[in-house]
Symmetry: C2
Subunit: 119 residues, 2 copies
DNA sequence: TCTTGACTTGGAGTGTACTATAAGTAGTAT
DNA sequence: ATACTACTTATAGTACACTCCAAGTCAAGA
């Protein structure tokens, strides 16, 4: 069983140690097991969760939503339907955001092209 | 020359009146002309700017960046190159964000499909 | 043994972007 | 004239997501 320090996790996922502790406090990850000195030892399964949270956070899903999802997850199989509904809702929001950003991207392209042609 | 009230602009672009005044104070739009009672009268050209700002803001460009762009714009033709460079930089950042969100979108899709199949 | 460095906690502080409040004015309806 | 509504300003407050700080612990190396 591989154990990884907070430092290593922070480097691996480009998150600060403070952020990792913050996510844990908020219940987005963990609870992470600790050694006899009280130092965190991240396990393989923790890393999957961290990767998921990081990906969703950088896509703009809020801490609150992720917290809710993980709460449901920890409550067991009976919440599968609620979890799916939550994800579907977030998917719609995410799609809207992506569309909005694509639109801005096209506008930026257009403006940049205009500047280039003018030269 | 058409004149539009802040109320109408707010409704048209789904921005609060406070936000419109805030953007103006920050120099992202305007300065908006006022009637003898001191009330804002938005003109056609103001609306184009508002639409641009709204689009870029909802795509995640910061107030600071937009402020800088508009400052350069107001300084005249000599800043065209700087403006283009600024937009190109933001375009790269925006592309990265879109890619990141697409990735999250795929992950969400995958998870949702998993829940659906399980049923 | 002493120092160094990385860790721990709880709580305070920060940046960004609004958003709300208070106090006042101006124009319209009764 | 009075009430109502929408506007104005300046400034304070809020939400979110970190980010930093102080004070202390622990293990390893000189």
């Amino acid at each position: 069983m591989v154990k990884i320090t907070i430092q290593e996790v922070a480097e691996k996922y480009d998150l600060s140690k403070d952020t990792l502790r913050y996510y844990e406090k908020e219940g987005l990850i963990g609870p992470i097991s600790k050694n006899k000195s009280g130092i965190r030892e991240y396990q393989e399964e923790d890393l999957n969760r961290i990767e998921f949270v990081k990906c969703m956070r950088s896509a703009g899903l809020s801490i609150a939503v992720l917290k809710e999802y993980i709460k449901l997850y920890d409550e067991g199989d009976s919440t599968k339907d609620a979890r799916m509904k939550l994800l579907e809702k977030e998917r719609v929001l995410l799609k809207e955001k992506i569309d909005c950003m694509e639109e801005a991207y096209q506008k930026l392209n257009y403006k940049i092209e205009y500047y280039k042609k003018e030269k």
